[in-house]
Symmetry: C2
Subunit: 200 residues, 2 copies
């Protein structure tokens, strides 16, 4: 929003175009030529800005997209009344986006993670780092809600896994049913855990 596609630097346009393409076609399905075409950049600029080629570009895009989703989710939690509402809103928001975009885009982290975990170690590490950052961020929210560190981490891992899994299911079947069900149950789990807290 701060920078339009027209005024952004070449490097930023390449990063943004790559992130968008990864969401739709994944890592192997996205070609460098399509990236420069979408970014309105000359082909050579990819290797000028990313001497490491497609792999280095992919690693940077994974980290950027990961940070973007982290901010997005945190803002959803900030806007919610409590932690249970935050969890519920995350699933509802994902379903909303899926419907609004006609089920076009997936989570690029998850897609790339599945594609390259066995064949490209730098990219696998990048996806694992993003998952760990998300887990840490969500954990801090659950800690703030009163859970001790191990319980907070477990709930974080549970909610993130549930969100990712339901998202794939929903996008493939072009229905938000999986996200609706997952969100309802995830909220119930967190609510029940909250009730069992010594001091609540």
């Amino acid at each position: 929003m701060a920078t339009s596609a027209a005024t952004a630097t070449t490097k930023e346009r390449i990063l943004d175009a790559t992130a968008a393409l990864f969401m739709r076609y994944g890592y192997t399905g996205t070609g460098l030529k399509q990236i420069v075409a979408d970014a309105n950049a000359p082909f050579g600029s990819v290797y000028h800005h990313f001497p490491g080629g497609k792999e280095a570009l992919g690693v940077e895009v994974i980290h950027r997209s990961g940070a973007m989703y982290e901010e997005l989710v945190m803002s959803v939690f900030d806007a919610a009344d409590d932690i249970v509402g935050g969890v519920r809103d995350c699933f509802a928001g994902a379903a909303e986006v899926l419907r609004a975009t006609d089920y076009a885009d997936a989570c690029p982290i998850e897609t790339v993670a599945l594609e390259v975990a066995s064949s490209n170690e730098p990219l696998r590490i990048a996806t694992a780092e993003v998952f760990e950052r998300w887990t840490a961020a969500a954990s801090s929210r659950f800690s703030a809600a009163g859970f001790d560190a191990p319980a907070a981490r477990e709930l974080a891992i549970f909610v993130i896994s549930q969100l990712e899994g339901a998202f794939v299911h929903a996008r493939a079947s072009r229905t938000t049913e999986a996200l609706d069900v997952a969100g309802k149950i995830a909220a119930t789990v967190v609510e029940a855990a909250l009730r069992d807290l010594p001091v609540s």
Copy 2:
């Protein structure tokens, strides 16, 4: 097991090799040349047995792999004492496989679903059909355990989404933590739902 790689027909060897490659490299990451090399088959045999080319081969592999996983999961439930144990064993088994194979293979359905949901409609439909078959199969198990149809379907969707999501997370981070946490919470959810049943 019934047919060794040496005695299987050319078509079966192609299907098996493709299924194995999809688990590791996905759909776009798997080349026809690598498929025939792994299957010890001449290149032309792909188009002889699959006139629809790579896409038709992919659709058949998705259905085959989907049916294979369905049988596998059902056998896990058959071997378990009750439905809660079955759920727990599914996650434990997935973690075990991941460790034993050094986190090499992913679920091909999920990988392909993420890669092609926006770019290849026949393949997207195939993955959606597999998800729906899994849901129906798991639903019937939950129904047999005493849940009514809507509740059984919700639990089925929840468990499958949770399993898929945790699997990606675990493989990317090369730890079974996500599957361990997901399995524990999923079993707890089913157990609690079972307790709330009118007649239990």
